[in-house]
């Protein structure tokens, strides 16, 4: 058997960082093995994949120690025998047309012109994309774009496949399609694969070995999936890894019986309709909705059903084409859609899907202080509130850190904190758990449940069935921009099979 990957005492430190992302790594991967790389957030999983793909170049990108060989030779740069699929297809696809996109990698590998197009067609067929070669990449869904990225790799026929969270940026149906495509391709036992993924349960059938990395260190556990999960499942879950069949400590504590009659109404939407310019159909169509205090509302539905658009309208961040949203819990007398930002921040908090979008300051503390100041909280009470919130979210030791340098989970916590610091009556969150590790997930559930129990109205858009299960008092399902079942209770039945993740 040939050794495909061999690391001896290997370590990597990103340029400008004090700590090592990985250190003292000893690992051998033989031909035909399917390895799932696990580890808490920041354990260097993606770093290792990038190193294997030849994308980390010392000394500009960072410092290296030890040895790392792929295909029997020290890694010096990208090699046609290795192919990598990244998390986000929108930043990994290069060309504007489907055929050109696959051809791009073949051109770079100097495949003769006559052989390029047959190979492009084969790859496109193999991933099940039945589009003409001239089809625009922009017209593909996220799941289709990711399958195209898989076809890009397939066309070059690498011996080693590196998959960096290939489904974490996709909605559940898209993720399912990519997974089945990968399962099909990995049926060829001569191919070696290394996969990084948070949501383990769905991939576990594809792999035969699990390697758990330690933050700043090397390999912590290594073995067949069943063995690793049964022996270390609970500790892995506590460190943020999603483990099949193991639940976290947080969610259960916050489960409570859904209530029909809760606090006073906070917000009323009447016949809210949104039509984007140049769109042929309405994104949101005549939606009536009431949101009350002390209640958590989940908005669910397939991609493109208008969930996020509705959430933006409810938070006064988008003016509906017709219909009206009224805020009933105070605020200025002008129509809600035209509230000045300073008033809006006192009453409504919004958590964006990408936390970075809502950062405006140079430090964690300043980020939270801005929110308090804008909401008209005095300096003394404001400072106290910021201090408490940082303490509560375990961000105190990062008070002076730049928000952009935080880890994914820390960024997510900070983004929720920026929305909560002004103590708004309504908190709206767009896919708050998207792509998060299990530990951050637990913390988020706790934060949102706490906000609700404090008397706030909480509304979240999500595909995450587990989140709906533990948090939602009420589920609103959208399809084609219309509410199809505002069921105040029956949570389990509202998510169709396609929405499960």
């Amino acid at each position: 058997m040939t050794t495909v990957v061999s690391a001896r005492g290997w370590g990597w430190r990103h340029a400008g960082r004090r700590g090592w992302a990985l250190r003292g790594l000893d690992l051998r991967i033989e031909e035909g093995e399917r390895v799932l790389l696990l580890g808490p957030s920041g354990a260097g999983k993606s770093t290792l994949l990038q190193a294997l793909a030849g994308l980390l170049r010392p000394p500009e990108a960072g410092d290296v120690e030890g040895e790392l060989s792929v295909h029997g030779r020290p890694v010096t740069g990208p090699d046609a025998r290795s192919g990598i699929v990244f998390q986000d297809p929108s930043t990994s696809l290069v060309m504007s047309r489907v055929g050109d996109e696959i051809a791009f990698g073949l051109e770079n590998r100097a495949v003769p012109t006559g052989l390029i197009w047959p190979r492009v067609r084969e790859s496109l067929d193999a991933v099940g994309l039945a589009y003409p070669l001239s089809w625009s990449v922009e017209h593909l869904s996220g799941g289709e774009q990711q399958r195209l990225a898989v076809a890009d790799v397939l066309a070059v026929a690498p011996r080693l496949w590196l998959l960096d969270e290939p489904t974490s940026n996709l909605d559940p149906p898209g993720a399912a399609l990519v997974r089945s495509t990968l399962a099909h391709l990995l049926g060829d036992r001569s191919i070696t694969a290394v996969v990084v993924e948070h949501r383990v349960d769905e991939l576990v059938g594809l792999v035969d070995r699990v390697v758990v990395l330690e933050a700043g260190g090397g390999v912590r556990h290594d073995g067949p999936p069943d063995e690793v999960f049964s022996r270390h499942g609970a500790t892995l879950r506590a460190s943020g890894v999603w483990v099949p069949g193991v639940r976290g400590p947080g969610p259960g504590a916050h489960r409570r019986e859904p209530t029909r009659s809760t606090g006073p109404p906070v917000l009323e939407a009447e016949a809210v309709t949104v039509r984007y310019p140049a769109a042929t159909t309405e994104a949101v169509s005549a939606v009536d909705l009431q949101v009350t205090a002390s209640q958590a509302t989940a908005v669910v539905g397939p991609n493109g059903s208008g969930k996020s658009t509705l959430a933006l309208c409810l938070a006064s961040l988008l003016v509906p084409t017709s219909g009206e949203v009224r805020f009933c819990a105070g605020g200025p007398r002008v129509p809600y859609a035209r509230w000045p930002p300073r008033e809006l921040v006192r009453h409504v908090g919004f958590v964006f899907q990408n936390p970075e979008h809502q950062f405006v300051a140079a430090s964690v503390e300043a980020e939270l202080t801005i929110g308090a100041t804008r909401a008209g909280v005095g300096t003394g009470p404001g400072r106290r509130r910021v201090g408490e919130l940082m303490e509560r979210l375990a961000l105190s030791h990062l008070a002076a850190a730049n928000p952009f340098t935080l880890s994914g989970g820390e960024k997510r916590r900070l983004s929720v904190a920026t929305a909560l610091v002004a103590r708004p009556e309504l908190l709206v969150a767009d896919e708050p758990t998207f792509g998060q590790d299990a530990r951050t997930w637990d913390e988020l559930v706790e934060l949102l449940a706490e906000a609700r129990d404090d008397g706030r109205a909480v509304l979240f858009v999500t595909h995450d069935e587990e989140l709906v299960g533990v948090l939602a008092d009420r589920v609103v399902r959208l399809e084609h921009g219309r509410v199809v079942s505002p069921v105040p209770g029956a949570v389990g039945q509202v998510l169709s099979a396609g929405d499960r993740r």
Binding site: S92, V94, M95, N108, L312, Q358
Partner: protein, 249 residues
């Protein structure tokens, strides 16, 4: 703010011509009209252009929708010249017509050229390095994403309670902080895209093949030749009629 790469004429007959042939025509027209400022040369060339557009598959609708700023700009130039200088009315007319006649072929060339074809042509015929030609192309693909991002960042600022207030200084500050946010996002995306391109062997220094061969065919040469004849003929006619007025001597 909307950033999109728009090529409304990619379905026309002209779109099939080699990008460099089309840009060549624009260059020939510009060079031929810069020689002389006179009403005859400019109006003859413009008349030939307008007559050729329907043959190339470019309809009047395109002209109305895309080329409307041209007569406007020409009118502006004319007014400015009449007011600010003591130029002759005929010369002013010539300057304005010339502006439209020079700009029109360039406008049509870009509107009928797929950016991918242009990158191919630059790389294959003009030997522009792949790193530059396809690197720019990839960057172009990110523009619409940035336009979406701009919207999101603006909404995020609103939700954080950040507004410009009434002062123009506040507006400028808000705008610059939004631009900074966009820049950070753009750099992140660009870095990721560059990694993805590198992982696929781009710019590795080795040999590279081309999937789409761009060839300057007979029709392309005919297009170029035709433009030389038309522009040359217009100048000759002006000489014969005695209106030819060279700019430099």
């Amino acid at each position: 703010m909307s950033l999109t790469v728009d090529t409304p004429l990619v379905a026309t007959r002209l779109a099939r011509r080699h990008p460099l042939a089309k840009l060549g025509v624009a260059a020939v027209v510009a060079a031929g009209l810069l020689v002389s400022v006179d009403l005859v040369t400019a109006s003859v060339v413009l008349a030939i252009e307008l007559a050729c557009l329907p043959l190339a598959g470019v309809g009047w609708r395109f002209l109305v929708r895309r080329a409307w700023p041209l007569p406007l700009a020409a009118g502006g130039v004319a007014v400015a010249n009449l007011v600010a200088s003591n130029a002759h009315g005929v010369a002013v007319g010539a300057i304005s017509l010339r502006l439209v006649a020079i700009a029109l072929p360039g406008l049509v060339a870009f509107a009928s050229t797929d950016p991918v074809d242009l990158a191919d042509a630059l790389h294959q015929q003009l030997r522009v390095p792949a790193r530059f030609a396809y690197g720019s192309l990839a960057a172009l693909r990110l523009l619409p994403l940035l336009s979406v991002e701009w919207q999101v960042i603006r909404r995020a600022r609103r939700s954080r309670g950040i507004d410009a207030g009434r002062s123009p200084l506040g507006a400028a500050r808000l705008w610059s902080s939004t631009v900074f946010g966009l820049l950070v996002a753009a750099i992140r995306r660009a870095t990721r895209l560059a990694s993805a391109m590198e992982s696929r062997g781009f710019d590795a220094g080795g040999p590279r093949t081309v999937a789409r061969r761009q060839v300057l065919g007979a029709a392309d040469w005919a297009l170029l030749g035709g433009s030389v004849v038309a522009v040359g003929g217009a100048n000759a006619l002006a000489v014969v009629l005695g209106t030819w007025h060279p700019l430099l001597w």
